[in-house]
Symmetry: C2
Subunit: 261 residues, 2 copies
């Protein structure tokens, strides 16, 4: 079971990724959660201790150099385009509450040289996780599907695009839908988040014709308050958790039987 | 006057960028607004007609090839690292309501080769706009400051980091603050957005020690409703516009006298 989650910044991708990870793990599945959005913090949402101190793969300079043959930050001309990565999940996954986590980090752009080696390593790692692992893989992405390609599209059981009642999030969803089509990814579904009223729900449905809606998650101030009070996010809203459990149930028909940890 | 705006996805960077652009333009300044966040739509916020149809610079394949000597999408080994860009603002700015707009677009990463030529062109263009232009330049960025470097840090009169009441936006602000320090950018200030209560304001202040707060913008459902009803965002909330005018006033001491259009 491979689930990729995308959508505009701020719509709640990481919340959905962390809640789905928790539900799959508690249901007996072996889960690898992948933080591929440098503008979020999946580790913190999952309650990992010292979440800020986890070194992302892209910042492991020696590893990048060892596997690609290119020194990060230098404009190297030759490096390996197919670095060895199959041992990396075991070496660099953190584990907490039965959920394995990999933090991919940012591919730096511009200014100080060509950083492609990190990119090549991350890409190979995501490919490996999607194509060659038996776990439930939950990929929390940026506002795009840069981590996916024609080669991995068939491995993704569901690309969930999160939207909120706001036009910009719909534009991002349409852009993602087109990118998905371009790489042959068919299994795209939308989740509407932060829904305050029936009219907001209808707004999303009427403005995204042609998209399958998987579910709607209500707005709940309790989750904002828990965040401000520094309380665990995942336990702060039963209403939201119930809605995400519905999403889990909807995803299940495509899931394999639980893999024993 | 060069203003760069950053912050976590969804906090309201584009709203602030568009309102500031409008206020500067209405005050007689010549304004170039730069959309450097592919996950937003500054053109739509500014009311440009057919905002979705503007081709971003990074997707102008012939231009990228002409200026850098490298074909986008190909793993070219040699290309110009200092492409000519000083004629591009005149050629590729759109104008609406007295505001010039450049849409930079996305630097694609991974999957299908090395896309550095687009990146080099965008970088050179941003450098030019910050270092060699007399207009008020308002740069709407992603959740980072990838478009800035040591060479442009001194040209930025103010880097505004937008935050909202939520811990993830504070983490992003701290990360941006560190990146700014790394490149010697001193003029960093925070704007708190979507403020619903005094306690939310205090939450932001107490959790961002060492940051200068420029202003606070209240939450106003009117702006969400206007967006859903497809009405002009910029005219939808007098409360928010008044708060952004305060920010404009606070920025003014560093601004040059208006440049006649």
């Amino acid at each position: 079971m491979k689930i990729a989650i995308s959508g505009k910044g701020g719509v709640g991708k990481t919340l959905l990724a962390s809640m789905l990870s928790k539900i799959f793990a508690e249901s007996g599945y072996s889960v690898i959660a992948i933080d591929a959005d440098p503008d979020s913090n999946l580790a913190a949402n999952l309650g990992f201790p010292q979440a800020e101190e986890i070194t992302p793969i892209s910042e492991m300079k020696e590893l990048v150099e060892e596997r690609t043959g290119a020194k990060p930050g230098k404009t190297e001309i030759y490096f390996k385009l197919n670095p060895k990565v199959d041992d990396l999940p075991e070496k660099y996954c953190r584990e907490h509450n039965g959920i394995k986590l990999m933090v991919m980090g940012q591919v730096k752009r511009g200014g100080s040289g060509c950083y492609c080696p990190e990119n090549v390593l991350l890409q190979a790692l995501v490919n490996h996780l999607l194509l060659a692992r038996n776990e439930v893989v939950i990929l929390d992405m940026e506002a795009g599907i840069e981590h996916l390609g024609r080669g991995t599209a068939r491995a993704v059981d569901k690309l969930i695009v999160v939207v909120e009642p706001g036009r910009r999030s719909l534009e991002t969803a349409c852009r993602i839908g087109k990118l998905a089509q371009d790489i042959g990814l068919q299994n795209v579904a939308v989740v509407g988040n932060k829904i305050r009223s029936k009219s907001e729900k209808e707004f999303l449905i009427s403005n995204l014709p042609g998209f399958e809606f998987l579910s709607f998650i209500p707005y709940d101030q309790a989750i904002v308050d828990a965040d401000l009070a520094n309380l665990p996010i995942l336990d702060s809203s039963q209403r939201i958790m119930a809605a995400v459990k519905d999403i889990y149930q909807a995803l299940l028909p495509t899931a394999e039987a639980p893999v024993t940890n």
